[in-house]
Each structure stands twice: as structure tokens, then as C-alpha cells.
């Protein structure tokens, strides 16, 4: 979920499904609905406008669920810290289970982190 990012992290997330990283071989897939998800990947600092949608989306995921904050902005607002439109980090809005650092994080790191979560 993009809570206000610069789309850098999104590009990296998208690339984990490319033939190079092929995260699908580990059973990792993007889903169209939060109802179908096991976890949320949240990118970017949480802007004021996106805080409520983020909470709603989190709420929509069936339990047990995990939240992964992808990228520095998601972890601690990164360069946007303290900006007027920013509500805070992802963990200020919803409970975060895992954080993946980097601006943007390396696709391999994302895959690794996700594999760790899934236990494969």
C-alpha cells in the first residue's frame, strides 16, 4: 500500500516479480484485494490524507495478518519527517511487524524479508 511514497519503493516491489527475482517461486504473490492478503506492504511516509485509508486497509485484512513497512520513509518518514502533510511513520498508524530499510530497498532484500516472514 502506497501511503504517500515517491513510487521508488513501488518500482522495487514490482521488480521482485520479474524473471530476475521471481518471488512467485516462493509462493509470494500480489493480490488484488486486502481480503485475500496475508500482509500489507506499506511504502512511504503516511500522509494526512492517507492515514484513514491505511487504517481501513489494515482493518480489511483478515487475521492473522502482518504489516511490512517497506523503505525508510515507511519506517521513520525519511526525508519527509516533520513535513506539514505527514502524519507520521507507518508504525504510528498501524502496528508494524517487519521493517525493510533502504531508500529504496533492494529487491533482493524485500524478497529475503518476505521469505523470512513466510518461513520458506
Amino acid at each position: 500500500m502506497d501511503a504517500g511514497s515517491c513510487n521508488g519503493c513501488e518500482i522495487e516491489i514490482a521488480s521482485i516479480f520479474s524473471p530476475t527475482y521471481d518471488a512467485e517461486r516462493f509462493g509470494i504473490r500480489l493480490e488484488a484485494s486486502p481480503r485475500h492478503c496475508d500482509g500489507l506492504l506499506v511504502t512511504g511516509p503516511v500522509t494526512r490524507n492517507m492515514a484513514a485509508p491505511l487504517r481501513k486497509t489494515f482493518d480489511a485484512v483478515p487475521q492473522p495478518r502482518v504489516v511490512v513497512a517497506v523503505g525508510d520513509c515507511a519506517r521513520d518518514c525519511g526525508v519527509f519527517r516533520g513535513a506539514y502533510g505527514v502524519e507520521g511513520a507507518v508504525s504510528d498508524v498501524v502496528p508494524v511487524d517487519l521493517e525493510i530499510p533502504g531508500c529504496p530497498p533492494d529487491p533482493a532484500a524485500i524478497v529475503r524479508a518476505l521469505r523470512g516472514l513466510a518461513g520458506t
Binding site: 484513514a52 485509508p53 487475521q63
Partner: protein, 668 residues
């Protein structure tokens, strides 16, 4: 005995009329409804007895009907229709106890409704031309008056009434001419005598009479292109009346075509039946398309009636075609399929119309775009509509499935007969059947899904609650029958076979049921609706149990997923119009919808849109292309004619002088 009961039925109905006319307001509805129910019950007994024993109930008197005689003879074929009407009538009348809408409580309506039901009950028993036409027209006029019940509040009712009146009169004129032609040519008014002598009539007489009868009965049955009144009148009638019209009255159109074509004329050339099949195919296609794109619940149901009448006519036509080519067993099979569909259509359409009226009463509208979320708010009426909808969509384990299956089988087994007419007609028939089947599934997914499920779209729908007990009992009885007949069709099929067997010249080489199952005699082909139902329930139970077992947490109620958006409201929901939009677009050439886009702009800037509203309206093509131009022509003719008598006494006298001169010249 049955004759006496038949008379008692009529008298009971008339007593209901009298009660409706003179009983004090407090007892009016109760008394007239109760008497009507009693009439229906008596009718049911007569019909069932005749169906069972095969002995016709005969009543004949010259005291009634001046210059003719009043003559009833209820045979097995007619008895089937009496029984159908009786069942629908009982349920509709029970429903009426709780129904307060649309002025049905008035003295006029209370007295006419029993008369309407009585005429419906007696029409299939009529056994001479005058009696038949009398009862037929009585049925027409009483139903017209009932359609008009709510005229004071909605102008659509008037328009509907006018269409109905005109179309029914057109039909009646054709019918009168056709039947009188037959009667005078065979030298008797009695159906029995006509049936014997008609074989010796010249071909043109037979064909003319048949075509006129098809026009007359087709207009009552709502067959395209004579259907234009139906989608207007059925929705505007008060609930029980629309149920009776759709579930009992249109059947009589089919009855009439069979009675005249196969009974009085004992079958005819292939082109007659191809005509009937053609009408049926057209009606089925046109009706199902329009009902798929309608957004008013009752209009949708009305068009679906046209659709189902089309299927019945397909069956009847196929039957006639088979009989003409000598395939008597197949002919009976097709006729049984058609009649079974008549029975089942009555059951599910009755429950649908009644529960749609419940919805109307509860939510104040039948516009699907004003409804929603009613299944939770109406815990009994909602499921009733659901059951009816699934049944009409021919889904197992409900009854519509069985009759459509039989219809398909009769066409399938007719194919190898090697006759060219059949070879061309049957695949088209199956195609039509299939397309309408798919469209009906679409239609009722829409009706149920938009109307009953999801979020309520208006405050009225939000506040809706379950209707009174009589209403859901009346509708519910029919819904229960949908399920019972769907699971255990063997309860009705033998009777229907008996009824169809009353048509001369048709016979079946064996029983159509084997145990609980429907089995075609002589060919491998079997349907086990009971088994299917058990399988569904069994597997469904297992699956649900499994889900319950694996489930580790309680079900969490959440807001529906709307992409995280604020304000997830009913305005986000799909509407009936949008649901039908893809289909409308596919059939654009046939439906030719008119789209209006109203865009209003913000006051501050012309470049920003405040609201954009799209109206899609779909007119009836026949109405637009045939009836309206005809009406315009008539009006133009009237305007021209009006100018001839201009008020001048001299001109009037000149007419006389000319006439006098003509008389002198010609006659002297």
C-alpha cells in the same frame, strides 16, 4: 357431482362479488376474499377430480345467454388450467388479506376481483363459442378494471389501462371472428361438434380461424408483437391482480391456442405450428432481452412473462409440428413440456409477483435502483423472491429446471425425425431456449442482487420491514411449491400427462416418471431432480461443516472493501441500469437504447463538472415502430374526417340530395 361443484364454484365466486359490493367496510375484504378462496378451493376440487377420473364436468342450460346457450364441459385439459388458477387464486387471496396498497380495498375492486377470479376459473370449462367468448370478455373487462384500480394516483396506470384495453379488444375481435367463422361453418356452436366437423371444412376456413385464434389468444398471452400492453398493465395492477394476470390469465392464451389448434381443429399443417413457434421464439427472445434490461421489478417480471409465454408457445408449436409429421409420442412430450412450464410458470411467477408486491409495500417502490438490502430486512419475503427467481432461471433444485429440461429433450429427440421443417425449427428452438435461459439467469441475478442484496439505496428501503403474515404466507405457499415441484416433479407430471392426453390424437408410449425421476419413455434420458437436490444439500452440508471445522476465529463483520476510501455508501453500488449495461450494449441494435447525459457545471467554473447524470431508456421497439405510427395514422385520419361535416346545413342537405339522386338513378 363435478358438475354441481362447478356450478358451486361459479356461485361462490358470484357470492364473493356480492359480498365485495354490499358488505360493510369492516368485513368487505375478509368476506370477499374468503368467498373467493372458497370458490378457488371448489374449483381446485373439481379440477383435481376431473383430472383424476377423466370424466368431464358438464353443465348446460339455455336459461343463460340469450339467443344461445350456456354450456360448460370441463375435460382433463381444461381441468389442469382450472387447478392452476385455483392454486394461484388461493395464494393471491391469502396475500390480499395483508395487502393494503393501490386501492384494492375499495368497493369496486373488492367486488370485481372475485368476478375476475371466477371468470378465470370458468374459461377453461366453456364448451361453446358464446359461453367461451362471454367468459373470455368478462375476464378481460374485469381485469381491465382491476388494472385501473390505482388510476387516481399514478398516470402510468391510465396509460397502461388504455394499452391493455385496446390490445385486448383487438385480440377479442380476432377471436370473435375466428371462432364464429368456425362455428357457422361447422353448423354448431358446441366445441364438441366443431371438433368433429372441422376436419371437413375447407383449408382456408381452418387456417383463417386458426390464425385469428392465434392473434386473439396471442394478444392475451402477451406474445410478441401483441405484447405491448403486458409490460405496462401487469406492473400497474395491484399485487394480487398482477399475480393472477401473470400466473393465471396469460396461461389461458396458451390454453386457447391448444384448444383451438389441436382440439377444435385437430391439428393442422406445419406452417401453423411454425407460426406458433416463430411467435414463441420472438416472444422469448424479446421478452428476455427486455426483462434483462428493465430496472423496474414488476416491469421486469412482466417482460419475463412474455419470455415464458414464448417458451410455452415453442413447446406448443413443436408439439403441433410433431403431430403434423406423425410423431405422436414426441408431440405429447412437447405438449407436456409446455404444459408443465405453464404450471411451473404459474407457481414461480405467482410467488415472484406477490413478493415483488410485498417489496413494493415495504419499500415503497419497485424501481430496483431505489431498493437494496431487503433480504435482511424482509427475512421471509426476501427468500421467497429468491426462490422464485432461482426457479424461473431454471436452476436446480427448483421447478423451472424440470420443465425447461423436458422442453429441451422434446426438441432434441425431434431432431432426427428427418423432416425439414423440424430440422430447421428445432435447433433454433434450442438456441432460443438457451439464450433466454442465460438471459433469465442474468435477469434474476440482477433482480435479486440489486433489489434484495447489498446496501439499501434509499431511506424507504432502509426503513423497510417484513410485511404482514398473510402476505408472506400467500407468496410463500407458491415458493414452497417451487421447491417441492423442483425436487419431486413426479407429483405433477402424471396429471399434466393426463391433461395433455386429453388432446385428441396424442399418446405416450409409457410413463414419464420413474419413481422420483423424470424419464423419457423409450430413450435413454433421465433427470433425477430429487437426487440433485439431495446431492446439493449433502455436499453443501459437508462443505459448510468443513468450513466450520477449519474456521479458527469467529466471523468478523467489517466495512466492505472500498479501496480504503472514505464514505463507502450505497451510491457506490452498482445499479440495475449499470448491471444491465454490458448486455444493453451487446444488443444495442435490437434494443436501440436512448442515452441522455445531463451534465451540470459548478457555479464557480464551467470547466468543473458538478454532476453528470446518464439516463438510459429503452423503448419497446414494436411500440415505437408499429403501434405508435398506427396510432398517428388513426389520429390523422380522424383529423381529416372531422373536417367533412363542417356544420353547414346546406352541406348536410347536399349529402341527402346526392344520396337521393343516387337512389333514383340506381333503383328507378
Amino acid at each position: 357431482m363435478t358438475a354441481a361443484l362447478l356450478v358451486a364454484t361459479a356461485l361462490m365466486g358470484l357470492a364473493g362479488t356480492a359480498a365485495g359490493a354490499i358488505a360493510p367496510v369492516r368485513f368487505r375484504i375478509a368476506l370477499s376474499s374468503a368467498l373467493t378462496i372458497a370458490a378457488c378451493a371448489l374449483g381446485f376440487v373439481v379440477g383435481a377430480e376431473v383430472l383424476h377420473s377423466g370424466h368431464a364436468a358438464v353443465v348446460h342450460t339455455t336459461t343463460l345467454m340469450p339467443l344461445a346457450s350456456f354450456s360448460l364441459a370441463l375435460d382433463r385439459f381444461g381441468a389442469l388450467f382450472v387447478v392452476i388458477t385455483a392454486v394461484v387464486g388461493i395464494c393471491a387471496m391469502i396475500f390480499r388479506f395483508g395487502y393494503d396498497g393501490q386501492g384494492l380495498a375499495s368497493r369496486t375492486a373488492s367486488s370485481i376481483l372475485p368476478l375476475f377470479v371466477t371468470s378465470l376459473l370458468l374459461v377453461p370449462a366453456a364448451s361453446n363459442v358464446t359461453t367461451f367468448l362471454f367468459l373470455w370478455e368478462l375476464m378481460a373487462i374485469t381485469s381491465l378494471l382491476l388494472v385501473l384500480t390505482d388510476h387516481a394516483r399514478r398516470s402510468e396506470v391510465q396509460v397502461a389501462g388504455q394499452w391493455y384495453a385496446v390490445m385486448t379488444q383487438l385480440g377479442a375481435a380476432a377471436l370473435i371472428l375466428g371462432l364464429v367463422l368456425l362455428a357457422t361453418r361447422s353448423g354448431s356452436q358446441s366445441f364438441a361438434v366443431i371438433a368433429v366437423r372441422s376436419a371437413h371444412l375447407p383449408a382456408w376456413v381452418r387456417s383463417t380461424a386458426f390464425v385469428l385464434a392465434v392473434v386473439g389468444f396471442g394478444s392475451k398471452a402477451g406474445a410478441v408483437p401483441l405484447h405491448v400492453w403486458l409490460p405496462r398493465a401487469h406492473p400497474e395492477a395491484p399485487g394480487p391482480v398482477s399475480a393472477l394476470m401473470s400466473a393465471a390469465m396469460v396461461n389461458l392464451g396458451v390454453y386457447g391456442i391448444v384448444r383451438v389448434g389441436m382440439g377444435l381443429l385437430s391439428g393442422g399443417p406445419a406452417w401453423w405450428w411454425l407460426l406458433v413457434m416463430g411467435l414463441g421464439a420472438l416472444s422469448a427472445m424479446f421478452g428476455s432481452l427486455h426483462s434483462a434490461t428493465s430496472k423496474d421489478l414488476k416491469r421486469l417480471l412482466a417482460y419475463s412473462t412474455t419470455d415464458n409465454v414464448g417458451l410455452m408457445l415453442l413447446g406448443v408449436g413443436a408439439s403441433g409440428l410433431f403431430a403434423d409429421t406423425g410423431h405422436r409420442a414426441l408431440a405429447l412430450l412437447a405438449l407436456v413440456a409446455a404444459l408443465l412450464h405453464v404450471v411451473f410458470h404459474a407457481v414461480f411467477k405467482g410467488s415472484l409477483f406477490l413478493s415483488a408486491s410485498s417489496v413494493h409495500q415495504a419499500a415503497g417502490s419497485t424501481d430496483l435502483d431505489q431498493l437494496g438490502g431487503l433480504l435482511r430486512r424482509m427475512p421471509v419475503s426476501g427468500p421467497i423472491f429468491l426462490v422464485g427467481g432461482l426457479a424461473i432461471a431454471a436452476l436446480p433444485p427448483f421447478c423451472g429446471f424440470v420443465s425447461e429440461w423436458l422442453l429441451l429433450q422434446s426438441m432434441l429427440h425431434g431432431l432426427p425425425s428427418g423432416d425439414v421443417a423440424i430440422a430447421v425449427a428445432m435447433p433454433i428452438g434450442v438456441g432460443v431456449l438457451a439464450l433466454t435461459g442465460g438471459l433469465t439467469a442474468f435477469t434474476f441475478t440482477k433482480a435479486i442482487g440489486i433489489g434484495l442484496l447489498g446496501l439499501p439505496r434509499t431511506q424507504d428501503a432502509e426503513r423497510a420491514g417484513e410485511v404482514g403474515r398473510p402476505m408472506w404466507i400467500g407468496a410463500g405457499l407458491l415458493a414452497v411449491l417451487c421447491l417441492v415441484f423442483g425436487v419431486a416433479p413426479f407429483l405433477v407430471i402424471p396429471s399434466v400427462v393426463d391433461a395433455a392426453g386429453a388432446v385428441p390424437g396424442l399418446h405416450l408410449a409409457g410413463a414419464l416418471t420413474r419413481g422420483w425421476n423424470v424419464a423419457l419413455p423409450g430413450v435413454p434420458g433421465m433427470l433425477a431432480p430429487g437426487l440433485v437436490a439431495i446431492g446439493l444439500v449433502g455436499f453443501g452440508g459437508l462443505v459448510a461443516l468443513g468450513r466450520h471445522l477449519v474456521q479458527q476465529r469467529p466471523v468478523r463483520l467489517t466495512e466492505a472493501w472500498g479501496c480504503g476510501r472514505e464514505l463507502q455508501t450505497a451510491r457506490m453500488e452498482y445499479t440495475a441500469t449499470s448491471f444491465g449495461e454490458p448486455l444493453t450494449r451487446v444488443f444495442e441494435d435490437v434494443l436501440s437504447p436512448a442515452r441522455d447525459v445531463d451534465v451540470s457545471h459548478l457555479a464557480e467554473s464551467r470547466y468543473y463538472t458538478e454532476a453528470a447524470v446518464i439516463h438510459t431508456t429503452i423503448d419497446d421497439a414494436f411500440e415505437r415502430r408499429v403501434y405508435r405510427p398506427a396510432d398517428r395514422m388513426l389520429v390523422r385520419w380522424g383529423a381529416v374526417a372531422r373536417r367533412v361535416p363542417n356544420g353547414s346545413v346546406h352541406r348536410y342537405l347536399a349529402f341527402g340530395l346526392v344520396a337521393l339522386i343516387v337512389v333514383l338513378v340506381v333503383l328507378a
